[in-house]
Structures are given as C-alpha cells and as structure tokens.
Symmetry: none
Subunit: 185 residues, 4 copies
C-alpha cells in the first residue's frame, strides 16, 4: 500500500503525531495508531522499546523539527523583529488551516496533556527552550539586546500558545494572525 514502502518507524511517528495532536496522549490508544498506520501489532515494540511514551516523544520531536523550520523560514529574511514575528504568525495560521480539523500546537497537544509521565515535561521544556533560543538569536541579529531578546522570544511563544488555544476553540486561525499583527515590543 506504501509505494516504495516508507520505513515502518517513520510511518508510526507521523501517524502518532497526527492522532496525538488531535486527541492528546491519553485520548489515543495504540490500537488506533496501529490500525491507522497499517503497522502490525507486534512491530511497535521493536522500534519503540518503551512503548507508547517513547512513541509520543518521538512524535513530538518530529513535529518540533517542523516547527523549528517554520520559525527559521519566517525570520530568515526579516528586516525587523516585528516583521519576523508577524511572518511567523502568518505561517502558523496557514499551518493551522491545512489541518483536517482545528488543532493546537503539536508539541503542547501531545506532551503537555499527560504530565503524569514525568519524562514528558522535560522533553517539552527542551523543545520550547530550543524554539525560544532560536527566536532570541534572530532577535539579537535584528538589533535587540541579548537579555531583552530572550524575554521577547518567550513572550512571542506565550502569545502563540495562547492564540493557538483560542484558534482551536473558535475553529479559525484569526487569533493567530491577530497576535502577529498587534505585536510590538
């Protein structure tokens, strides 16, 4: 059914990312992930020996890389921090729109809904810190003092996370674009 047959591991990760993002870690069973991805029952534990938790972290990391790329694309040609933020928000709004249904930040959706698993919190923290640092670096490049740059970057992430909550709730990407429009430092 797969053309040259993508590696099983990748199929699992991408399917899991999509389903976890839709319903949260505790809201999706391995049965559904396996059935959706067409991967047989026994195969999962070869690729993810620690089972569901392993798979969720892999899925979040994979999604995080995509987000990182979006950030980079947004700021790459920006000539001011505000412009970079605005471009980022517009790209995220588009990212929101292409999903089959309204969904939030891929990492938050997967990991932060299960903080009974302690591993998840530190994984999320590392991912978020990476994004913040990345945005801050662009801030410095665009003339913001190093210390302020980190604060601004964190504020950007807060705005995006909050806007994503609202966007999912209202089933429209407007809030995400609006925070981009309104952002000033």
């Amino acid at each position: 059914m797969q053309s040259p047959r993508r590696p099983t591991r990748d199929i699992l990760i991408e399917t899991a990312a999509r389903l976890f993002r839709r319903s949260g870690y505790h809201g999706v069973g391995l049965t559904e992930i396996l059935a959706t991805s067409g991967v047989p029952k026994g195969s999962l534990y070869h690729h993810f020996p620690n089972g569901k938790a392993d798979l969720a972290i892999a899925a979040a990391s994979w999604a995080a890389t995509g987000m990182f790329q979006i950030i980079e694309d947004a700021f790459q040609h920006a000539e001011s921090f505000e412009e970079g933020v605005k471009t980022l928000c517009y790209k995220l709004a588009k990212f929101f729109d292409i999903s089959e249904q309204a969904m939030g930040c891929p990492v938050s959706s997967i990991l932060s809904q299960a903080d009974d698993i302690p591993e998840f919190r530190s994984a999320t923290g590392q991912i978020f810190d990476g994004w913040i640092e990345h945005i801050a670096r662009h801030g410095c490049r665009l003339g913001i003092a190093e210390k302020q740059a980190r604060d601004q970057a964190e504020l950007v992430l807060i705005l995006i996370q909050g806007a994503w909550v609202m966007a999912r709730l209202r089933d429209t990407s407007d809030p995400i674009r609006r925070v981009g429009d309104q952002f000033t430092r």
Copy 2:
C-alpha cells in the same frame, strides 16, 4: 431538601474538577474520581446520567464560576484597564501557586483535552466568551471604546492561556505575573 453532609453531587464535581485539571479528561478514570470522593460507583449516574462527559462539563462550569469571581475581584477596584489586568494576573499567579502541583487553566485543562467530544468545544466557547465579555465590560467602564474593549479582552485571555502553558511547563508562576507586568494597550 439538603442532607446534613455535603450533597453527593457537589463532592463529585469538586473532586472531578481537581483530578481532571491535574491529568486531563482522558487521563483520569471514573474509578479514581469515585475512590477519591468516597462516592460509590452506582451513584454517579444518578446525578450525571450521561456519565463522565456530563461530570466533566459540570466540573468545568463550576471551575469557571470561580474564575469569573477572580476576574471580578481583580477589576472591581481597578482605576485603569492596565491595572485590572495586572491585578488579575497576580491573582491568577497566586491561584497557580496554591495548587499542589503546576496546573493550567481549569477549564482548558478539563475540556480542551478531549476534542473528540463535540459538546466540550461549545461548552468551552461559552465559558471563554463569558470571561471575555466580563473583562470587556470592565474595559468599557474604564474608558475603552466598546469595539476595542472586546479585542483587548480577548488578547488578555490569550496572554493568560499562553502564560499558563508556560507556567505549568516551567513549574513557576513567573510567566503569569510577567504578562501582567508587561501588558500595555
């Protein structure tokens, strides 16, 4: 009409609100809710005929009322919109701190983690709209034009939701206070 001990229904609601907020809708089983509240299994469906979903909505509504009161307390004596927002954030930071563990917005934590239940989204929407309208009303009272007031109120909610995500992740209420400090319109 009122037994000497606290009504079973209320015990269930408050226990459920706490546990759902801690672990999300799909992360808590009725078994735990029943065991924690000391209510026998069969009683739940007497008070909540639709079971877990009913209980979750009741729990979120109950929590929403508490939030509404905090908003009212924050803005009641405020002499400017900015002051009200700052007070609100400080109150929410304190609300964050008194929980046994880092937890997010009570309503988001309960309902938005189960998008698979369609009823949840509209319930969350109504609650959020109530808060926004309430904040906007205070904005008008404090001199903001009616149309702008609603936008500002929505931005406040976005900031708070985003800050709450960050606060839970970092296990500190600092982000919540910071958005209160930095808020200008």
Copy 3:
C-alpha cells in the same frame, strides 16, 4: 400525561409486555421500562414486590388473556375444527401485522427466553395448557373425540409457535396464514 390517569400498575404491565416481547426478558432493563412508561423509579416495588420477575409474569399473563380471547373469537362461530383453526391463524396474522415490528408469541417471547428463572417455565406451561384445553374443548364441540381433540389442539399450538418463529424471521405474517390454510386433520 395520562388522560384520567390509568392506574400505574396497568401502565407498567402493558409497557413491560411490549418491551419484553420485543427483546426478551434479559434484553430489557427496568430502567427502560420505567422510562418508557413514565413511572418513577421507586414505584415499581410497591406493585411488584418481587421486582422484575413478578412484572414479567404479570405481563405474560396479561398478554395470555388477550390471546385467549382471540382463540375464543376464532372458534366461536366456526362450524368445523378446520375452519376454526384457519380463522385463528388469520386473526393471529393480523395481530402480527399490527405490531410496530415483527414479534413472536407474546408469552414465549417474554418467559421462555429466561429459563434460568424456574418460576417462568411453570407459568408458561399453565398458560399454554389453558390455550390447548380451550382449543380442545371447541374441538369436542365440533365433533372430535376427546382424546384426539387434545392432540389436535397441541398440534395447532405447535404449528402456530413454529409459524411465529418463521414470521418474525422473515418479517411477514405469511407463514402464519399458510399453516391455517394447509391445516387438515
């Protein structure tokens, strides 16, 4: 909701008879019977102290009386046993047709599906014997020897029970009419 308000007991019996006939004794819960009849939860055990089993026997007895009357009506003006049987089958076919869905013999449907309750078998036996005796009496009146009359009556009941099974299965009353047409002794 009831015009001059039929006695609660009767409402319960008739509702239970209908639902039990549709889904069998074990296939209907008291909750559904109570909800359908609009009778409050606590009332059942006043009228039927032994609960569900009591109600089922009362419902079957009530239905049996109706059947007895149909038998009487069919044979009353019959001028031969065969004519009586044929009329009976045609009346039962009509009885079959007026139900909302294809359903079997009211007594069999209610009681014989739960022979884990020993009381049910003897109750069914008494009802069936009453019908057989009744048909046999008409057989005697129409010139059949007493001993043969009972055998013939039992055969009629067997044919009807079997035809009812087939009719319910095929969702048509044809088999019931056909046994009436084909019956000869």
Copy 4:
C-alpha cells in the same frame, strides 16, 4: 500453524454455543463464557473484534453446521420424504435428550432472542434458508415437484421449531417425535 492444544477460538465458540443455547444471548455474560472456557478476558477481542455479537454469530453458525449434518444423515438413505422427515425428527429428539437440560433449536436460541441486534436476523435467515433448501433438495430427489418441495421443507422447519418450543417447555422430547410420526403431505 496449529498449537498442540485446541485453538482458543474453537474453545470459545463451542462454550459460547452451549451457554447461549441454555440462556439466550442476553442471558449469558461474557464473564461466564470466559470463566467456563478458561480463556482470559483480553483474548476474546483478538478473535472476535466485534465482541459478544461476533461470538454469538460464530457460535450459531457452528451449531448450524451440526444441524445441517443431522439433516443430511436423516435424509441420506430415506426412500420417501415422509420417512426422511420422521427420521430427522427422531434424530432431533435424541439430540434434545442428550442435552444436560431441555433446550431449543440451537440457532433460534442464540440469535432470535436478540432482535435488537439487526445482524442477527439476517444471519438466522441465511441459516434457515440453507436448511430449507437442503431439505427441499432431498424432497425433489424423492419425487416431489420443485415448487412444492420448498413449501414442504418450510413446513417441516415450522413443525420442528414449534415442537422444540413445546418440548423445552414440557421437558420431554415427545412433541418432536410426534410431529415426525404425524407428518403427511
């Protein structure tokens, strides 16, 4: 491909067939079936993904095959249709007698007691049609016109179903033998 011990699936089917036949579909719980068969709870849904309903249909189909064989054995050496019917009834009477307790037609007992499950009716219909066709084929072989053969076969099935109701009720196989003795066309 075959474990040394009997396959779990078969154990489940045969245990279920026996228990469902005794108490009807709604009268037996999975717990009892699992406990009786010694199969652990989780295994059932591996073999019967749709659970209880799947199992019941498999059990009825398995029982139907046994019935089919009895029909074949009865008619195989019969030299007239009447003789075949009589032999069939005597075999079924013996089949009735060897059960631990009085029980009806295995297929009717399992499936027709749960009309609320739509799949059951069509499954029963197919099984019954198979039997009727089989009997009719022997009827043709024994000199009955094709059109009449089907009617006669259906009448045989009606007689057997009815006799089975009566036999179970009276706890004796006499009615089954009697319809065999009395059958003429």
